[in-house]
């Protein structure tokens, strides 16, 4: 009550009396935080101490000495040179690249498919909307492991053997051992075609920037898509024909019991990429649908009332606003996809978890190091992905007050 009288009185303001330390929020918060940190450090120290004592008692080596030892096992598919004489370190990289390959392919296909299905589900065409709805409800509600088994065992492992292969167009072949596509073999002069291709891309970027500036300046539009397509395809095409088609193809040929030559794509990789991307696409479709539906109806009406066609309304008004709703949950789908790729173990694709956390851990017995490295790898992949997506999201965020 003294404080009130002070404020009403004509005299100078008296600062309120400071409460005892115990009742001050700053002090309490500091104490809680210090207690938490001390508790965490003590807990981790206890675990680390326990582990090192147990390892010493069981005579298990610790440290990363195993990294440069010969692994002695094979990996069925590797993007880098690897055989059973390679080291555990090389096995680490072989597995990591296999995982990154699956994650990258999966993210691209899942995004494309997800956007198509998501927009399709909002279509005014009854059949398209229902088909997309059925897709989402089926794939989203079945376990991913089951779907991988379906693609691997029910579809790809039921294909005919090499001698009864399904012949696909352009010299490709599909059988129980995988998909074989022709491998391009560059001959003399092919570099010129590549240079023409690069020039076409550079010229297209130039045309795009010029057309954009011209549209801003004069309002006239330029058929950018067709021009760039012509530049990118026709320019190298012309060089290719002019130089007498300097590119050979190595076709897969049946020799004995198996196909030789061409580029083989294993059924394990196909099943994993198809399974992961169709499954994740069903979630992305829902995110896209929610994002578009989350843009207020009035936005579309205002754009229509100004005379913008439905295509332009979508492109200039709805999608830019929907993206800021779509991006954050889309990021978690990408992270899920990368992490779900470890289900590769179940169908025998040599991904990082199967190679490193499986075989290497079994052979070396160094569980702590291997598991720590595995966690570090997945953490790095996830943090890089979300850092990129956060940057992108910030880039398109709305300005409010």
């Amino acid at each position: 009550m003294t404080a009130t009288t002070n404020r009403q009185g004509p005299g100078p303001l008296v600062p309120p009396a400071k409460p005892s330390l115990l009742y001050r929020p700053e002090f309490r918060q500091a104490v809680y935080q210090i207690l938490l940190v001390v508790g965490l450090v003590a807990g981790f120290w206890a675990i680390a101490h326990n582990v090192s004592e147990n390892l010493a008692r069981q005579n298990i080596a610790s440290g990363f000495g195993f990294w440069n030892r010969t692994s002695g096992f094979d990996i069925s598919q590797s993007l880098i040179t690897y055989n059973n004489q390679s080291t555990y370190g090389q096995a680490f990289w072989a597995g990591l690249f296999n995982t990154l390959l699956v994650a990258a392919l999966g993210v691209v296909f899942a995004t494309l498919l997800g956007f198509i299905i998501g927009i399709g589900r909002l279509s005014s065409n009854w059949l398209i909307a229902r088909l997309c709805g059925a897709y989402v409800e089926t794939l989203r509600n079945l376990p991913l492991l089951l779907q991988l088994f379906f693609w691997y065992f029910a579809v790809l492992k039921n294909l005919p053997g090499p001698r009864q292969s399904i012949v696909l167009p352009a010299g490709a072949t599909l059988n129980v051992r995988g998909l074989y596509i022709p491998a391009p073999v560059p001959e003399q002069g092919f570099n010129a075609v590549l240079i023409a291709f690069a020039m076409g891309i550079v010229a297209s970027i130039g045309v795009y920037m010029w057309a954009r500036r011209r549209q801003l300046a004069t309002g006239e539009r330029f058929p950018v898509l067709w021009t760039t397509l012509a530049l990118i395809l026709l320019l190298p095409g012309a060089v290719y024909i002019a130089l007498g088609q300097p590119l050979g193809w190595e076709y897969p040929v049946l020799r004995g019991f198996n196909f030789q030559g061409g580029i083989p794509i294993q059924p394990e990789l196909m099943a994993l990429v198809v399974g992961l991307s169709t499954y994740t696409a069903s979630f992305i479709a829902e995110i896209v649908r929610a994002g578009i539906a989350g843009v207020p109806r009035g936005q579309r009406e205002a754009a229509n009332a100004l005379g913008l066609s439905s295509g332009l309304t979508m492109r200039l008004v709805v999608i830019p606003q929907a993206l800021r709703i779509i991006i954050p949950p889309l990021t978690s789908q990408y992270l899920n996809l990368a992490k779900n790729s470890s289900l590769a173990v179940a169908i025998g694709y040599p991904d990082f978890v199967s190679v490193f956390t499986g075989t290497v851990l079994n052979q070396t017995g160094q569980a702590v190091e291997v598991i720590l490295l595995t966690m570090l790898v997945f953490l790095t992949i996830s943090l890089i992905t979300s850092a990129f997506m956060n940057w992108f999201n910030k880039h398109i965020a709305l300005v409010e007050r």
Partner: protein
């Protein structure tokens, strides 16, 4: 002015710059929202539509630029009949400006880009020309200094004035207003009404759904009272306010004027 020369050109072609509604009906499922609406709005005429909520007044003006589809009857806007023909719908929408209760500015674009979007993409204007027009209209609605801000940074009254400027940038012959002041705080209503009065005085054909009876009295050529999907009464403002004929109109007026 460009307006006058275009009006002359249209008269020379014998086209009407007004709106004609002939026996228009609309249903939402079982619900009959518009019942046999007959209305002719001449070029340059200013119409105010009032009525209780749910009377179909918003639906009526939303039918005029095809944000809603009518199911029976004929709507002719600026000499073009509204049918399923997408080309006609686009033509009419480019000729008819609309202002909404909730402003509906595009939040991801600056004020200037909000104004330039349709002129650039629909009228294929150059950026420089579109910006010049946009700045002229921002001047006219008295907020030229807000051009580079985003809608979220403006007050409601400012946003609604931007929305009016955005519609004017398409150089429309007809302006539709759907309760333009209903979402505004009282002190902001006046700044928006001032802009609308100025627009009315410049000879624009206007159809305005509003409960601002002072605005109706000073600006409208005719006031329309709608109830339950019908036009109940239609008269010049003096007659409408001093001598309403139908009981429903009297009841409505007594409710909104005496409080």
């Amino acid at each position: 002015m460009a307006d006058t020369s275009r009006q002359q050109a249209r008269r020379a072609h014998g086209a009407s710059g007004g709106i004609l509604l002939n026996g228009v009906h609309k249903w939402y499922g079982e619900f009959h929202v518009l019942k046999d609406i007959n209305l002719t709005v001449k070029e340059g005429e200013r119409i105010v539509i009032c009525g209780p909520s749910g009377s179909g007044k918003s639906t009526l003006i939303r039918c005029i630029n095809r944000l809603e589809e009518h199911q029976q009857g004929q709507i002719i806007v600026d000499g073009i009949e509204l049918t399923n023909d997408l080309r006609n719908i686009d033509k009419i929408r480019a000729e008819v400006g609309m202002v909404f209760q909730s402003f509906n500015l595009f939040p991801h674009l600056t004020i200037l880009d909000n104004l330039c979007l349709a002129p650039i993409w629909v009228k294929k204007m150059s950026r420089a020309e579109a910006e010049k027009t946009a700045r002229m209209y921002l001047e006219r609605v008295k907020i030229p200094e807000q051009a580079l801000k985003y809608p979220g940074q403006l007050s409601g009254g400012q946003q609604q004035r931007v929305a009016i400027a955005r519609a004017l940038c398409m150089n429309p012959n007809i302006m539709l207003f759907d309760e333009p002041t209903s979402a505004l705080d009282p002190e902001m209503i006046k700044e928006v009404l001032d802009v609308m009065i100025e627009l009315a005085n410049s000879g624009m054909t206007m159809m305005c759904v509003t409960h601002e009876m002072a605005f109706a009295r000073s600006v409208a050529d005719r006031v329309i009272f709608m109830d339950r999907g019908e036009i109940v009464e239609m008269a010049p403002p003096d007659e409408f306010f001093s001598n309403p004929k139908s009981d429903r109109t009297k009841h409505f007026l007594s409710q909104i004027l005496n409080h």
